[in-house]
Amino acid sequence: MTNGNATALACRDISVNYGVVAALADVSVDFAEGMIHAVVGQNGAGKTTFARVAAGIVHPDKGTVEIGGKPVPVGNVGRARSAGIEIVHQSFALPPSFTVAEAMEFGAEGRGALYSRRDLERRWTRHLDALGVRVKPRERIRDLPVETQQAVEIARALVTDAKVLILDEPTAVLSPSGIDNLFERLKVMQANGVTIILILHKIREVLSIADTVTVLRGGKLVEGPTLTTEIDAPRLAASIIGTTADGLSDTDRDALVGAAEEDDDGTETAAASVAAGPAILDMRGISTRPDPEGPALVDVALRVGRGEIVGIAGVEGNGQRTLVRALSHLADITAGTVELSGIEVTHQPLSDRRANGLRVIPFERNSEGLSLSSTLWENWAARSLLRDGVLRLISPAKIRKACSAALKVWDVRFSTPNQPAGSLSGGNAQKLILAREVDEDATLIIAAQPTRGLDVGATAFVWRSLREARARGCGILLISSDLDELFDISDRVVVMLGGRVNGEFSRPYHLGEVGAAMTGADR
């Protein structure tokens, strides 16, 4: 049956508009059967929207979808699934409290209303074994490591004999070795005749797994599907970035698109004075109480010097959030000490720590970083208003003026300081947070996932601001799940695993070594 030239999925003239924004404009692509296809592009290029249209989740304003040569009504998940297309989302969709067997049954073709646990477990064990997923069917989803959760999710998608499997950024949450395992699994599926479409972010990954590559930029198709044997990394990088971010250094450009070679020789010079500087942050033996938002910290020691960027690497959920909360006095510290610029702050509330120069760019831009329904100037002024005393008289007009001036310096696109923060795009919202948190009095800036979801231009802007703060002598703690980003701008990289520090690296970084530390494998 399998014919190399048959088309598994064909999309014609797909257009999707969100309000005035065109997420996709007249995208037409044919994906050949039995191959692994990559769809790449910057954040906001329309990759996820494209995947959702193909899977019938998003109803396009225009365009048609064909699966296996037959037209499928658009915007109908049920019809798309019965035509043989399945999607695995970026954020997992399995109910965390279900067991593996229950989660597999959930969403599968309806059988009887009654079932016994043993039946379920027997049925799904066989299915999981066949796909090489080693997991006990009785375990709960929430207790599984991220990598296994994803494997179960993929196995669930394959329950109904899928012909086309779409994975939306499956590598974003995985360690380097996890990515290798995923790719091996995908190759097995390919050999079984499944057509796989991967939404990816990094050129390195595209070139190592995909047969063809398709590039989206600003909602438009700019490349492909092109055989990966006929394209090289520099051309792909140029195609992804376009001309939007001129003036990027080569290393930044490579980091943005994940095109760096496995072993980066990291010839950055700016960080020469690092180790000599006095400590801005000195954490010793910090342990915390377990916390619903992540594992407790266990005996964590961490030092950030003046003018140093320290990167925190690790698979998500290994204590990074607890670390930021502990540094912000929002997690219960049970042992150890924290010093900021030589002053012990272990039991100081966040307001006092901020007075000592601590600044926090929290993980969740839209809930922890900003009040979306409040105005720009209120969000911008929050820090200084708290610092100067709550009952002080203020002049909102003056604050609005100062806010306008500051936001212009930070290149935020806005029309009035009275508009709600929720009306800003992700990149501009992040710049608003930077405008508030990166000031002259800052000594330690904690930047948690500061570039997540941002496009190339905004990402480069955030990196530049962090480097400028470093040049002024700030210490910076950068938490990121993107190793390319960490390798590009960190002077040192500390790996966290299960709430502990599991290794520290300095330039030149080796992806393999850092990756091994992330999963606890022997180096």
């Binding site: 912000s328 009040s371 709550v390 203020i394 009275n418």
Partner: protein, 345 residues
Amino acid sequence: MIGYLTQIIRAVAFVFIALLLCGVIFEFAGFSAPLMFQSIADGAFLSMRAWENSLRWGLPLFLTALGVVISFRCGFFNIGAQGQFYMGAIAATFVADGLNGQSAVLVVPLTFAAGILGGALWALWPGLLRVKSGTDEVITTLMGNFIAGLALIYVTSGPLKDPSGTGQAASSRPIGEAYRISEGNSLSPTIIVICVLVGVGMWVLVNRTAFGVLSSLAGRNPIMVVWQGARLSRLGLAGFVIGGALAGLAGTIEVLGPIGRLSSGMLPTHGFTAILIALVANLSVLATAVVAIFFGGLAAAGLYLPVLAGLPAAAIDIINAAIALFITARAWPKRLTGLLRRDAT
């Protein structure tokens, strides 16, 4: 500017639709809707006397509603204004009654202090429960209303009972003439001055202090201000206490002013109308003044309805309820987002 204008138009439209709906209902019930609206307008706004009455009812409502505005802006759904109003009135009456015969220069300020304190304390305990242990303030303040209502019955038929009372609703002995801040049961310049001063003070607090900005941020997204290093519990408690204090002040004014005594079951919907006013005014201090006088007018007109339109005075309650339905349908999502503030530390 456009934003303010649409907000005003929207609020007016809600009230208008509610009135229209009531008109239709009353028409079906066999009453004359045009006559009803005519008598509301007459009773509330169409004469000097009517305006005086509207202010007499509207100004205490304004104070209580301001308290509601402050605590809602902080993100706390303190619906205990009624209880705080009662507790303020009770505390004030105890002091005015207990010190009867002393100089007014001493007694009146002490009475005000007691009334304000009484209301503030009745808001403090739900506030503490909320910020210390996360107890839902809707439940506690609502329960507080019942307790305060029963306390009012107890003191007016017990410790403060007027022995000469004639069997109807139990009430306290009348407040000594020397301590009254208005003549008879009407408005007085003193009351107007107090309300203007408090109104200006609250406007400054909300619009011209860091507290105003921070409490509004906290009300909209408490997690964000926690990450800024704010002590949410203090902001929240301040919101509760100021809210209670203003309701207590309104209670004191009623006791020392128009009503002149404490009576069991007095003004049973005062605190709830105040919540309605705060919501219609979209938590703006200035708009609260306007809306409070409008609702004061409705209350004043309510006294005329039986005479003029043959409607029961409760028709005003029905109108208020209809307005409440429309306004809360809009306010509800805010409340829901408020429920998400789990780590209010």
